[in-house]
């Protein structure tokens, strides 16, 4: 069964571009061009995720998400906005959005984030052990081993690795890492995230063929267990 996605966006070009992209990724996509139609469709309850524009005619994106949440629906919502300021982001997240993406964005980034939302464990997964292939992480003892051999990591490297392990087989963009690991909401002018990743790769001996953390061109990174 294909996953159902609702796109609420008043700009025709953006809406078509996003809808086409997700359709090609195998999603069943429905679209709405204004807030009222969006709210009507969203409360239908059959969608797995919603992409929602912040500024909409009829009913504002913030108001829409508040109504959806007030109706007791937990459907993951990603909010799109042209407003990049941190406080705007906070407003969106407080209103009940699960993630937030600033326009203009690349489709890969949006796709990566939607996948992340879809696979987000519905209930907080209380597990003490994370693993990917021969890499294992013990969250209680803060220990990481690869092929049984212990690896010493800095707290930050541990955090990055944990972030990947919790989102296996999903594309993780650089901005997602900056937000998720460092809680920074700005774009550095340098390739600082790549530097951290390559350092982590060296630490976990991820240098040969079929690395745990792959680079996904134009999008970011992915940890795959296949």
């Amino acid at each position: 069964m294909s996953r159902r996605l609702l796109i609420v966006e008043d700009d025709t070009e953006t809406r078509d571009f996003v809808a086409k992209g997700f359709a090609e990724e195998g999603f069943a996509v429905e679209t709405a061009a204004d807030g009222r139609e969006g709210l009507y469709l969203a409360t239908d309850g059959s969608f797995d995720a919603i992409v929602l524009d912040r500024m909409l005619p009829g009913l504002d994106g913030l108001a829409l998400i508040k109504s959806v949440r007030a109706a007791g629906m937990r459907t993951p919502v990603l909010m799109l906005t042209a407003m990049s300021a941190v406080d705007e982001r906070v407003k969106g997240l407080r209103a009940g959005a699960d993630d937030y993406l600033v326009k203009p964005f690349s489709f890969q980034e949006l796709h990566a984030r939607i996948e992340a939302l879809l696979r987000r464990p519905q209930e907080a997964e209380e597990t003490a052990l994370l693993a990917c292939r021969d890499l294992e992480m013990d969250l209680l003892r803060r220990r990481v081993t690869r092929a049984g051999r212990e690896i010493t990591l800095t707290p930050r490297e541990f955090q990055i690795l944990e972030y990947f392990l919790r989102r296996k087989n999903r594309v993780i963009s650089r901005t997602m890492l900056l937000e998720g690991v460092w809680d920074y909401h700005f774009d550095p002018n340098t390739n600082i995230v790549d530097v951290h990743i390559s350092k982590l790769r060296r630490q976990i001996g991820d240098t040969g063929e079929a690395p745990l953390i792959e680079t996904v061109r134009g999008a970011g990174y992915m940890m795959s267990d296949g």
Partner: protein
């Protein structure tokens, strides 16, 4: 006419004129009434004294004695404007310088004003008089010719009228002159304002150097104009710079998109061109994002999200982010923090520090040290990033935080020229300022924040 009346100066002059004229008129009226009363009272007391004297003469000497006394007095009466009349009980004139008893005067009825005909000249004259009925039934009247007094009154009135006119003219003149002093300077101010409105922002209100209130006001207005001119010129420079800064990447982008449309392009070339076009777009987006962030910080938006920020933690976190990048070039990132928490916007402060560190990394030589420090005084908290690079010429220090100022245009390394402008805007948003200093060797950039 309506225009003249609406004119503040005319109204002021008119008001002052009316006021002073009314005042003068009141004073003059008082003088007039007092003078009249005094003269009338004097005349009256003289007449009453004469009347009493003549009655005594009558009591002592009888009618004949009284006639003699009246005749004697009447001789010199012309000079004194005095009038006498004695008649018998039937009204027949016995003595005096008047032709007959005035018909409507009852003897003993007190003070009267009359028009009477005088015996000598035969002319009708105004008279103020008092009368008596004597014991034998004779009537006695003593008066004063009032024409002189009337004349005096008229002269007085005329003089006062003239004085009033003079007061009017004088108040017009002084009002005009005094208001001219003020209004000519107001007009200077208005003229200057007009010139500024028509586009010449360099105009200033001339000062007299007297230091009076008007000079002070003009001084304040001039300071305001200085500030406005500075802001406008900044704005102009910035928008010019934006236009200029966006023009070159946009035209490069245009060329690349054009090249992508060429038929028969080899796929690898197409891919490289596409990647370059994307890079240009990313650069443009970064510039726009930074400009938005700057104007939001300048407008003070986000102050409602201030929270207690621990400077040491802030520095350590940013340093930790950049540490691997620094390590690649053997650069040490040293954090020295000894400061108490302060209210601030954690995300924006982190962004400001990240800009400063990226800047320092750009210029620091391999193997050197970059020092991040937080030091507090009673009033300030100073977050500083110091490198051991070549530094910045003294003359350029003050313009580092201007938008689009890149001191080394040859370094086409993607610097937007907005990084430090954003840092300065974030500092101002926290009630502080951006400061740049030369070190030997090196360069220090700091945010000095109010605690």
């Amino acid at each position: 006419m309506a225009d003249v009346l609406r004119n503040a100066r005319t109204r002021l002059v008119l008001a002052s004129m009316l006021l002073s004229t009314a005042l003068a008129a009141a004073v003059l009226a008082l003088v007039y009434v007092t003078a009249n009363r005094t003269i009338a009272a004097e005349t009256r007391s003289v007449v009453e004294a004469e009347l009493a004297g003549l009655e005594t003469d009558y009591e002592r000497l009888g009618v004949l004695g009284l006639i003699t006394a009246i005749e004697r007095r009447a001789e010199g009466a012309e000079r004194r404007d005095a009038l006498y009349l004695l008649t018998n009980r039937f009204g027949t004139v016995l003595a005096g310088n008047m032709m007959r008893w005035p018909p409507d005067v009852e003897p003993g009825s007190g003070w009267v004003e009359l028009d009477l005909i005088r015996t000598a000249s035969g002319e009708t004259v105004p008279i103020s008089a008092a009368s008596l009925r004597l014991r034998g039934g004779e009537r006695l009247l003593v008066g004063r010719d009032a024409s002189a007094r009337r004349q005096f009154e008229q002269v007085l009135l005329k003089t006062m009228g003239l004085a009033l006119l003079a007061a009017l003219a004088l108040s017009l003149l002084t009002g005009g002159l005094l208001t001219r002093l003020v209004f000519s300077r107001l007009q200077e101010t208005a003229r200057t304002a007009d010139e500024i409105v028509s586009g010449d922002l360099t105009r200033r209100i001339p000062l007299r150097g007297s230091g009076d209130e008007i000079d002070q006001m003009a001084g304040t207005l001039n300071e305001m104009l200085d500030r406005i001119e500075e802001l406008v010129s900044n704005l102009r420079t910035t928008s010019n710079a934006i236009a200029h800064d966006l023009r070159s990447p946009l035209s490069r982008l245009r060329q690349k998109i054009e090249a992508l449309g060429e038929p028969g392009l080899a796929p690898p070339t197409r891919e490289v061109d596409g990647a370059r076009a994307l890079a240009e777009v990313d650069h443009l987006l970064r510039v726009l994002t930074q400009l938005t962030a700057i104007s939001r910080a300048e407008a003070g938006l986000g102050r409602d999200q201030f929270e207690q920020v621990d400077p040491a933690r802030l520095l350590r976190d940013v340093a930790e982010l950049y540490d691997p990048l620094a390590a690649e070039r053997d650069i040490a990132l040293l954090v020295e923090a000894s400061a108490d928490p302060l209210p601030g916007h954690p995300a924006l402060l982190a962004q400001a520090l990240s800009n400063l560190i990226e800047n320092a990394l750009r210029y620091a030589p391999d193997g050197s040290t970059i020092r991040l420090s937080a030091t507090s005084t009673d009033t300030n908290l100073c977050l500083a990033v110091a490198d051991e690079g070549p530094g910045v010429p003294e003359a350029d220090l003050h313009r580092l935080d201007q938008p689009f100022v890149t001191l080394d245009p040859s370094r086409g390394d993607g610097a937007s020229g907005l990084g430090l402008a954003l840092v300065a805007a974030i500092a101002r948003m926290h009630g502080g300022r951006f400061e740049a200093r030369r070190l030997t060797p090196g360069f220090e950039a700091a945010l000095t924040l109010a605690r």
